[in-house]
Amino acid sequence: VDLIHPHSVEAAASALVEASRLGTRVLVVGGRTQMDRGNPTEVDAELWTTLLDRVVRYEPDEMIVVVEAGLRLRDLRATLAEHGQEWPCDAEEDATVGGAIATGADPVRQLRVGLLRDTVLEVEAVTGDGRRTRSGARTVKNVTGYDLHRLVTGSLGTLACIAQVALRVRPLPRAARTLVTRDGGLDLGRRVLETVPLPAAVLAEPDGVTVRLEGWPDEVREQEDALRRVAAADPVDGAFPGRVFPDATTLVEAAVVPSALPALLEERGAFSASIGVGLAWIPVSGPEDLAEVRGRAERLGGIAPVVRGDGGLGDVPVPALGVHLRMKAAFDPAGILAPGRGWIP
């Protein structure tokens, strides 16, 4: 495939004008960490955003940072940490800001820090036919106009190329601790969630429950005491979250309501389930196993896209298909952006 590697948003826009004119199919690529997400797509060119990596504006007192989309999370984290702040996104160090947004990478710590989509305050995006358009504002609160930035979040690069964003950041927790219980299972996970006040994450696996605590130092101590009343637990060193099932070739990220996790995971040998959230990471052994997991998730009203390996999103109908198709036609009229990668046909 051809490579488009623009030094400026303007250049990215020109490239997309040209691509739309010629019908060149384009995949927008950030840090290449989530390439398996979405359905397989065949393209003629890749547009790499990684040279668009400026910190455009950062005012710590506003808790807002404006950055170009190709900035790596490693670099953003370093910039923010100097002022005791973070963008609550748990994606990998090599991931780019734009990639994390386009894949809708909600933080594993979402019980405490909320959802990724609510941190995206303003987006400048380049449509499939090269129009530069902005929505939102650089303020923490804003209800001005239609939220195009909501649409590109999680759109898998099928609507527009995210070029620049304003992000709501937050103070780094003064204290953080990760503990793992010596027993595991969903029931224990649920008891932990019921007993430990305001945890950041409770991840239940068959042989242990990982609990992430963040907050003020005294607060974290109080949470830890509460945890120990439910189960024996040992502290874990290292970054949180670690890579889930690093050896699995095919990994599913199922999403169901929390009360459906037991039915989803019954008799599964390996899983990591986010208690109180309803996400579950499940290694699968092949197409039949994938179909089985997917069938269960869908019967429970959820979805089960593959996030590593082959398998794509699954065959779940989208609601309001007509609205989806008109949206796609308006923002990518030539249909050149990642054809078929998203949820719509």
């Binding site: 909600d106 303020t139 209800v143 106009g145 239609y146 607060e219 979805i303």
Partner: protein
């Protein structure tokens, strides 16, 4: 021209005679909301369930009627004000809580439910619905969704959009689609995110799946007073700089404190230039840490007294002062015009100075009570519209406030919305390309442009593909739409 008489017959067939209003008084009542804008309604319908909402939309489509969705009518930007002969669809008869599922941290409710009734109903479960607009006693969840409403307690937890998991949306053709999901992810684009804050322009919300938030184990509420407005405003930034994001951080200036105190008797200091009402929550230990940081920040800026609520009764009293502000200001003058704009937090002090200067220039009384932590200002101009020339001065001041906040790097609206009142300012905040893209988002839901037309976007903003149809429909705004 749509045949209103024929549409009325069809609506009465679907909703029963009690479900439709067509008399002059009824139509006049529903020709306005809580803004200063007045329009005119063709018909008013009161569906009692989602099927009846669908029926209203199908009948409107059949007769070529525009549709204006409406909740409690407490909106402040004119988004629920009908223009021309629109059918106003009022959701106040749909106010059931359909289900509460604490384990899944969600509840399904009908759009007409009052915001406060939901919180009250949830309390025994240990959960709450976080957004608490000042109108929460009477504003509806459906209206809150359509304006993406905020409120004092949205500083740490975010505005309505962060608390809506899914909506059932009746599209303009009457079909109902579930957008978003009960669980943590949904297939497709985040159309839910577009519906929230769409001001009734993409369809009618027939049910809302709200996110339940655990009620924190401990809470502390403080009232801090300052000798100058600038010190008070700068304390806000200092608190944030120290890494504290309070649950609420509200500011009131002397004018509003005096009005409130005569009304609520909350013991607010009437001699202070401004006060901050701060609430922090979390685990008890963490709450103490946050209070210490806030006190330190306040002392940097010469705080007078710091009053801490000793118990829930005193806490409620302090909040009564804040929440009764808009009732209390009726003492100042018979009318008020309430603004809503956002500026960067670090620009609060200078923006407030600018607002006082605007009031002086136009010879108006202004008071301020607002969400300081979000930089979300609510200057409130009190006036008597019977005095000739006053209204003109109020509107001129409004214009100045908008420009002041945009010049400070702010936004047109923080939580009230654009509606009719601010749509012509949109071109100050966005380029033509931006507005065209927004028009396309809207047209994807409503290609015929019949849902709450003329709202949010200025008349010139068109989505290329759908422009011809829209231009054929719209003439100038009818005479007398304004005030």
């Amino acid at each position: 021209m749509p045949d209103l008489a024929a549409a009325r017959v069809d609506l009465e067939g679907a909703l029963g005679p009690d479900g439709v209003l067509a008399d002059p008084l009824g139509l006049a009542l529903y020709a306005r909301d809580a803004s200063m804008v007045e329009g005119s309604a063709g018909l008013v319908a009161f569906p009692t369930d989602a099927d009846q909402v669908s029926a209203c939309l199908r009948i409107a489509a059949g007769h070529g009627l525009d549709v204006v969705p409406r909740g409690s009518g407490t909106g402040l930007a004119g988004a629920a004000v009908p223009v021309g002969d629109a059918l106003v669809v009022v959701t106040t008869k749909m106010r059931r809580i359909l289900e509460v599922r604490p384990e899944d941290r969600l509840a399904w409710v009908e759009p007409g439910l009052f915001n406060l009734d939901l919180s009250t109903e949830l309390r025994p479960s240990g959960f709450t619905y976080a957004p608490d607009p000042s109108s929460q006693q009477v504003s509806s969840i459906g209206g809150n969704v359509n304006t993406n409403a905020g409120g004092p307690h949205c500083l740490a937890l975010g505005v309505t959009s962060a608390h809506v998991r899914a909506v059932d949306l009746a599209l303009p053709d009457g079909t109902i689609e579930r957008l978003g999901a009960e669980g943590p992810a949904a297939p497709g684009y985040d159309l839910r995110g577009v519906v929230v804050g769409s001001e009734g322009t993409v369809g009618i919300v027939t049910a809302v799946c709200v996110r339940l938030t655990p009620i924190p184990p401990d809470v502390r509420t403080l009232l801090l007073d300052f000798a100058t407005v600038a010190d008070c405003a700068e304390t806000v930034s200092s608190v944030i700089r120290r890494g504290v994001v309070p649950a609420a951080l509200e500011m009131m200036d002397q004018g509003i404190v005096r009005a409130v105190e005569r009304f609520a008797h909350a013991g607010y200091p009437t001699d202070a230039a401004a006060v901050l009402l701060v609430e922090v929550d979390g685990l008890s230990a963490g709450v103490e840490d946050q209070v210490a940081e806030i006190e330190a920040a306040a002392h940097e800026h010469g705080v007078g007294t710091i009053r801490t609520a000793r118990d829930e009764t005193e806490r409620q009293l302090l909040w009564k002062g804040r929440k009764s502000a808009f009732g209390a200001i009726a003492q100042i003058a018979p009318n008020y015009h309430l603004h809503d704009c956002v500026v960067p937090r670090t620009k609060l002090a200078e923006t407030l100075a600018g607002i006082y200067a605007i009031a002086k220039r136009h010879d108006l009384i202004v008071t301020n009570v607002f969400h300081a932590g979000d930089g979300n200002l609510h200057p409130l101009f009190s006036f008597d519209r019977r005095v000739p020339g006053t209204l003109e001065r109020v509107l001129a001041a409004a214009d100045d406030v908008v420009r002041l906040s945009l010049d400070a790097g702010g936004a047109l609206s923080g939580e009230h919305g654009i509606g009719l009142e601010k749509r012509d300012f949109m071109a100050l905040a966005f380029s033509e390309v931006d507005l065209e893209a927004q028009a396309c988002v809207r047209a994807a839901f409503d290609p015929d442009g019949r849902m709450n037309p003329r709202k949010v976007l200025p008349d010139g903003a068109r989505c290329g593909e759908f422009a011809a149809a829209a231009m054929a429909r719209d003439g100038d705004l009818p005479e007398g739409t304004w005030i």
